[in-house]
Assembly symmetry: C2
Homo-oligomer: 412 residues x 2
């Protein structure tokens, strides 16, 4: 029985921990578990028809990790996913992982590393995905389970990929409204996975760059522009069904989605030297209001066919919003859920390395992200200011019910 | 006249920006500036007897940058500090930098990069410091102004320093309760400084690890331990005067302090394999309550002289809290103001790189941080789990009044 991280710091919890020095272990009974349910504000259910962290209102902070499997044992992978599921449920409920003991004479390491003790669930979601290479490992015997839509992304125009920041067998997307909570989640899952998986790359995202519900204000990316105004909103069930949720392929992918991540460096020093006019024409929106050029308000439709007094389109031909619009892409849309990042200084330039960790969910990567990026990578005026340096694709299975574990559909 | 970032998004601001396409520039009058004052919640005054960001209650997020001067012109450095001061005042007031124009036909780059538009001041503080090497550059002619207490830190036991993550001529510590606000501050100061300074290193801190006032709950570091329980609290004016605020040396340092930063990597995979007992005896405190071993509550005094039934000290001889305690260091104390960080994966190990970006303020680095670290670096049991990889020291001048600029005391 896992203990609430916040309850641990009530007088009961502290008292027990305080006198725990040299005393017996401290285990939690049923009463406290019931009390947890009453203080569950700010927690997102792990179980459901879909994995949480896709349609969930985009939380403020991200920690994303990609792992490589270090074993060819299907049983070991199954055990890992069982343990990861259990720990994720506990963390999303704001509980400590495993069985809590405040017994100082305990000679085993604590099951929970403890840095989130005292912090609420903070709307943590933990979303798991599986990369194409996982299904090709001969020892695992998963080839028959590989979804047809799960293929490595092809080379795309403008790619400058670093393979060490790309791909991976399993991804974990942890999102929450507290960065310590997302760090704790990835750190403890990595700890549980030691010996079975090694972390290949990770990305801390300090601020969301997308809204995924109509209730959220559109945030700004590091170019200072409102980003994702035209994003799919989770309340639009028809759009979610049409563009995001998978309804074909193996049964375990029904209700799932495909996650494409792209680490996109933003060349801030060049952007910052561009005139406001250039910035706005690059995107196709006004910088401060977010309104399309020539319009008044952020959510006004893009005037793609309108020409200005000079006879030229108000939204330039190579403007990002035009090239990315559903209208000019046979209606194709994706659900974006990205985050801003910075990784310090590029010491060869003395400039900040920063950008957008792009995450998109979709029903079919080839028909959606790949089709869009083929066009954007070639023509988007924004390419003067960005570099795609990391890339990955993962199959995100549908949701599970209590008693099941993520991946059970292809591992059992 | 700088425009409030939030007011820009009111109907007046947006309307003007909306119709600003092709229309004249949009400048703000006196009325709006007065309105700003009324919505100043969450802003920390830049001006005062001390620089903000030292005694200020520790905000949740940090972005710290160290710059190298690329000129030997004192006039250029003076101009930089004038511009940096002006921009910092605007940002800490939640305003856009410079003169706002929503005029899309403007051919100059915006003076403010815009990613904090719509965000409040978020208790932003911007704190400037100057490294010892700055005063040794012959072209600047500042040698006579160098404080005697400002010396490069000596080699310390256990140092594994990377010089590219150490030192620097000027540091900027930006702290706020929103990471986008601290990113914006450093990014825009770097932009203003282009050609005069180059960024040498930077550090994003995602969560505070110290309380600096009695009103703040003690946070946990990435070892899951409450950190900084015995920290100096800003309300303790006598301690601040005794240990933090400088009252000798050049006039411009009066009311200032010396900032020591140490990038401390935490070897999480080793810590996480240690028994709870080992973890608690390494620190000398109980993990969950934060109480000293053998005591009940976090703020109970350390029982340094108490022995257990086995005849051994309850707080082990090499426990961190014992070795760092004022009692065992001739009363020496420092004001800690550090942050947790993660910089992704150490790919040679497949493990997370993470740790504590230690920041301490003190009256005299040699007598305070250096004396403490000489002992800790040699004996602290915690050394099995940490590595000091970055180090810097900066003279942080006293506060200024409106009309002055930071550094004026030695640059005018």
């Amino acid at each position: 029985m896992a203990l609430s991280r916040r309850r641990l710091l009530t007088s009961a919890g502290i008292g027990a921990a305080g006198v725990g020095l040299g005393a017996g272990g401290y285990l939690l009974g049923h009463d406290a578990a019931e009390a947890d349910a009453a203080e569950s504000t700010g927690s997102v259910p792990f179980y459901g028809a879909h994995q949480a962290g896709i349609a969930t209102p985009a939380q403020d902070r991200l920690f994303f990790a990609s792992f490589d499997l270090e074993t060819e044992s299907k049983a070991a992978l199954r055990e890992l996913m069982e343990e990861w599921t259990k720990a994720s449920v506990e963390m999303t409920e704001g509980k400590m992982i495993g069985t809590y003991t405040g017994n100082n004479t305990e000679l085993a390491p604590p099951e929970d590393t403890g840095e989130a003790v005292g912090l609420p669930a903070s709307n943590l979601t933990v979303t798991f995905g599986f990369g194409p290479n996982l299904f090709d490992r001969p020892g695992l015997g998963l080839a028959a389970q590989k979804p047809a839509a799960l293929k490595p992304l092809p080379s795309l125009p403008g790619d400058e990929l670093n393979l060490l920041e790309s791909d991976g067998d399993i991804c974990v997307q942890a999102c929450a409204d507290d960065p310590q909570v997302v760090f704790h989640a990835i750190r403890d899952l990595a700890r549980i996975g030691r010996g079975t998986v090694a972390m290949r790359w990770s990305q801390l995202g300090f601020g969301r760059t997308s809204s995924t519900t109509t209730t959220q204000e559109t945030p700004r990316n590091l170019f200072g522009m409102k980003d994702g105004t035209a994003n799919i909103k989770a309340e639009d069930g028809a759009a979610m069904d049409k563009y995001v949720w998978v309804d074909e392929g193996p049964a375990w992918m029904r209700g799932g989605s495909y996650l494409v991540s792209r680490r996109i460096e933003m060349i801030l020093e060049v952007w910052d030297r561009s005139a406001l006019q250039d910035q706005e024409e690059t995107i196709g929106r006004q910088k401060y209001s977010g309104a399309p050029l020539g319009e008044e308000s952020e959510f006004d439709p893009l005037p793609l066919d309108v020409k200005g007094p000079d006879g030229r389109p108000v939204i330039p031909p190579r403007a990002h919003v035009r090239l990315a619009s559903a209208t000019e892409n046979d209606g194709v849309r994706i659900l974006r859920r990205g985050y801003s990042f910075t990784d310090g200084v590029d010491q060869s330039l003395g400039e900040l390395e920063a950008g957008l960790f792009f995450i998109a969910f979709q029903k079919d990567p080839e028909k959606q992200f790949v089709a869009l990026q083929r066009k954007l990578g070639q023509f988007d005026k924004l390419n003067e200011y960005i570099r795609h340096v990391g890339s990955a694709v993962f199959a995100v299975p549908g949701g599970i019910e209590p008693g099941a574990y993520v991946g059970e559909g292809f591992l059992s």
